[in-house]
Amino acid sequence: MNDEIRQRRWTFLKQMMLIRRFEEAVATAGAEKAFPGHYHLYIGQEATGVGAMAALGPSDKIATTHRNHGHVLARGADPEACLAEIMGRANGINRGRGGTIHLCDPELGFLQTSGVVGSVVGLAAGGGYACKLKGDGSLTAAFFGDGALEEGIAFECLNIAALWGLPVIFICENNSADALGMAKGGYPTLVHAANDLRSIPGSLGIEAIRVDGTEVEEVHRVVAHAAAHCRAGKGPLFIETVTRRWAGSAPLWPELATGITDIGMATGRTKIDDGPHSYWYRHNDPVLKLARQILQDDHSARMQIELLDEQTQAHMRAVVERVHQSPYPELATATDFVFAQGAA
């Protein structure tokens, strides 16, 4: 293994840990009723967001969905601005207008973050159209769940992307195998007639690849391949990442079914018992998985992993503290931003 891959693994671990600790902080704040409304966590999908984002360039565009926290953080957004948005504060990344479902930062290349799941596929096709028009080699990546493919707009826009050869990477994070789904043996999804989601883009001639969404290196490799495919003018590509989200799909106010992540389960400090979550700890948790891979390559990394985790947790504690103290938007500004002013 060369140094570049070693270095990249550390970068991935750092980002994935940040997302994990961030989501745990969101769940904790949610349980404390520190913010209103329902919300969706990314726990268990970190390898997909982090691996995919690392394969994109700075001028690429991104469209994402209600389960966006991991994507926005993986792209480099400030966790404090993200948490402040989720808690409706004035210093939120969208000034408190979007909340958990609509975190986005156009300066980082994000288009709209839509809560209408199929729309993400359509807006991403539009992003790809703009990229092609610009002719600067940029592309658009869409992140959406398997549920997006239940809406007609997704089919319409996959068709347009294929017809017009648009540079779009459609990344379907198939997370239907959640806690509930796995218990019922349900896969790929309980509410889709297609047994293999790849057959949907496949019917339109779009190359479709399935990848283990808990393997960050694998996701990175496949998305990098797709990016090269798009940049070469070969049109769109569809990637299904098979993820094992924890906290489940059913609850709108997710519970941390596995509790706060114990990185000791990767480093050997903590014994994994034979409880109901043991399989997930051993095989599906992408953070633990990556930490184990790093350790396998270098047994002396144990201290470094635990230190990284402590630093991440301390960072998040400080973020939470500051966000709790940050103000809500001024009421007089509630009608600001209906229209953009002046020339774009």
Partner: protein, 328 residues
């Protein structure tokens, strides 16, 4: 010197000039002039910009979504959604995606997409091809709404729509494309939110939208022969809306008729009536009168169809009735 042009010709001029000025302007939907005799005019667009005129699949929602996403990513698409009745298929993409983009990003995102459709009772359209969504859209904050009535306005309004940083919906009535009117010698954008007084008068204010402007002007000629001088105002844009010009007119005339070719309940006429009633009640010498369609789908049979829609005669009758109010 002003010269005459059709609405359709001025419409195409605006697209040609916009595409010439900015290579990010493209036309998605190659038949914005529909199936009528003016349709050949769009050939010039295809001829001059073969790579920037696209024929999409029959997928109104998809096309609207692609337009919104492209605008979010820096393009300036002019998206034709064909018949107004089909805009409902694209509704969530317009009102839930494009319209909300700037707001829910906290002002960070701009969505400079322009949508267009041919709306209205076009003749033998039957219920599914006769609809006018402009009033429904007026209930969706975040979209600019443009409703040109004449060649003299359509050029300047389209130029402003395409240059706008916001999503804009342009409604052309299917029956006005071939109507000629004077166009100004210089091609300049028309700012949104400025109503145009199409005819000055002292006795009654007629606020008319789209094709109803033509009916109102015909009614005004008829009324003038009877000694009633009607002022005809064309708001030109519903968002932003020029309340001041209408209020000032009603202050002078004391009477208001509003003509809008949509079902009366929650029509644009209803909203204008409510606004003037709230802000200009003291100016009124008579109740406000709305000339609209009944709350019924549009029938196919020509005689039935004609009986339901606003006309010069209905507008003249409503104006007369207001002038007679309390004189009876």
């Amino acid at each position: 010197m002003p010269h005459q042009k059709t609405y359709a010709a001025a419409f195409v001029d605006a697209l040609l000039d916009s595409m010439s000025d900015d290579r990010m302007v493209t036309l998605i939907g190659s038949a914005p002039l529909g199936l009528g005799p003016e349709r050949h005019l769009t050939e010039e667009l295809r001829h001059q910009y073969p790579d920037r005129v696209l024929d999409p699949p029959t997928a109104e929602g998809g096309v609207a979504s692609v337009g919104a996403g492209a605008a979010m990513a820096g393009a300036r698409p002019f998206v034709d959604l064909l018949t107004g009745s089909f805009v409902y298929l694209a509704w969530t993409q317009i009102v839930n995606e494009a319209a909300n983009g700037h707001y829910m990003s906290g002002g960070k995102l701009q969505v400079p997409v322009t949508y267009h459709c041919l709306e209205g009772v076009r003749g033998a359209g039957a219920p599914q091809h006769s609809q006018s969504p402009h009033a429904m859209l007026w209930n969706a904050p975040g979209v600019e709404i443009v409703i040109p009535s004449m060649a003299s306005d359509v050029y300047g309004l389209i130029r402003t729509a395409i240059a706008s940083p916001n999503p804009t919906m342009i409604f052309s009535h299917a029956k006005i494309l071939g109507i000629e009117s004077d166009v100004p010698p210089s091609r300049t954008p028309i700012p949104f939110g400025k109503a145009d007084i199409k005819r000055h008068g002292r006795d009654v204010t007629i606020v008319a939208l789209s094709i109803c402007v033509h009916h109102a002007l015909a009614a005004a000629v008829e009324l003038a022969e009877e000694g009633i001088e009607a002022e005809v105002i064309d708001p030109r844009t519903l968002v932003p809306f020029d309340e001041e010009t209408i209020l000032a007119s009603v202050k002078r005339t004391g009477r208001l008729v509003i003509a809008d070719e949509v079902p009366q309940r929650a029509s644009a006429a209803s909203e204008i009536a409510a606004t003037i009633a709230e802000r200009g009640f003291d100016y009124l010498k008579a109740p406000i009168s709305r000339v609209t369609r009944p709350d019924t789908p549009i029938p196919f049979s020509p005689a039935l169809e004609q009986s339901l829609i606003p006309s010069a005669r209905k507008i003249a009758e409503a104006s007369r009735a207001l002038c007679m109010y309390r004189n009876q």
